[in-house]
Amino acid sequence: MDGIVSLIIAKYNFWAVIVLLLIGFYAMIAKRNIVKKIIGMNIFQTAIILFYVSIGSKKGATIPIITHGHDGVNHTVQAADYINPLPHVLMLTAIVVSVATLGVALALSMKIYARYGTLEEDEIQGKLMESEPG
């Protein structure tokens, strides 16, 4: 029993990420509406960001900003005292890039709506079939 509890505590961040990942994945596959697909893509990206940030954490460590007094004394910095800064850096840029991809995706879907008058994938497919010659 004790082993199971410690296992859950050690891994539940990954399971939460997997659940979020699957919600986004399912929305991207199964939803027909383009905006819902875009929302799914964003949930997927959020799951990846959470995954990276949770990998960077260390027990008993603080945020990766070195505490420095104003006395000018150079304290020795222990790597175990600060959480891993690298995932934070990667995700910082990933968040902004996800905003950028969201903007482009919305622009594309607006273009699609202007052309076909709908955002439902099957209706767009139908209109494409109609317009094809022969």
Binding site: Y26, I55, I66, G103, V104
Partner: protein
């Protein structure tokens, strides 16, 4: 399709769940991700760059190539929105709508009618009726300067606290977008025109890349800020700290401008006349 998607998702999820047992425990300080390069960054950032915020130092110094191209990605996202949606000037609309500022009466002026714009007592409003709300406008007018001030603080204080160019730029862009939402697109365009947003977004990327080029000119590698020490008049370690600040400002300008630019294009469907 739904069943197929569900089956795929569950297979994928089962696989990931199975793999998760091989992952390091949450908060394990001996996990592989925290072993090699990350401990070097933590232990050497202070003496290398004199920047206490390791994230900022890694972002704009150790991994500055990555961030440069990340900024370029954002800029090209703005360009992509522009080329996808921007359309030229529309034909003059059939009717224009004006509001008399002191009384709040709305006028509809048919095509060819005389425009009362020059008197300064009228304000052009969108053809889709938008209610005039004093409370929203005044609240946003009060809040926007403080948001912008906070954004500048976040940009400038990125060396010592959580913050930096990306975060501050997004906050600054959000302040301008809030202004555009609470008033209307026309008002926002009058204060920050599309030309300015395009210029600023390319200027931000140029500041970043230009700093890198300056380092080459000064005789070091691309984005090696130590070369700027003679230029800035400080020792090489402090020069790296200053170099980080310069590129962070470039990033902030680019991010702000692209956020606002994308908002302008999306909210008006590329016509840039009236929107949300």
């Amino acid at each position: 399709m739904k069943v197929l998607g569900l089956i795929t998702a569950f297979c994928f999820g089962g696989l990931l769940f199975y793999i998760s047992f091989d992952f390091p425990d949450w908060g394990d300080s001996a996990s592989p991700a925290s072993q090699h390069v990350s401990s070097y960054y933590i232990e050497h950032t202070m003496q290398d760059t004199s920047v206490p915020n390791i994230v900022t130092a890694v972002l704009a110094d150790y991994r500055s190539y990555d961030t440069l191209f990340e900024t370029a990605v954002i800029f090209s996202a703005g360009l992509a929105c522009f080329f996808l949606l921007r359309v030229g000037e529309r034909q003059a609309p059939a009717a224009r709508f004006y509001r008399h500022l002191s009384t709040g009466i709305t006028f509809r002026i048919e095509k060819g009618g005389r425009l009362p714009e020059s008197t300064g007592e009228f304000e052009r409003i969108d053809s889709v009726w938008v209610p005039y709300d004093v409370i929203i406008r005044m609240t946003c007018r009060l809040v926007v300067p403080f948001i912008q001030l906070f954004a500048l603080y976040v940009i400038a204080h990125g060396h010592h606290s959580p913050g930096g160019g990306f975060q501050g730029g997004v906050i600054f862009g959000a302040a301008i977008i809030l202004f555009a939402i609470s008033n209307n697109l026309r008002q926002a365009l009058r204060r920050m025109s599309e030309k300015i947003t395009t210029l600023l977004s390319s200027l931000g990327v140029m500041i970043y890349a230009g700093t890198g080029m300056l380092c080459i000119v000064m005789g070091a590698g691309f984005l090696d800020y130590r070369a700027l020490s003679s230029f800035l008049g400080v020792d090489p370690v402090t020069a790296r700290s200053h170099g980080i600040l310069i590129v962070e400002i470039g990033v902030a300008i680019a991010v702000t401008a692209v956020m606002v630019w994308v908002y302008y294009i999306l909210s008006s469907a590329g016509r840039q006349d009236e929107g949300l």
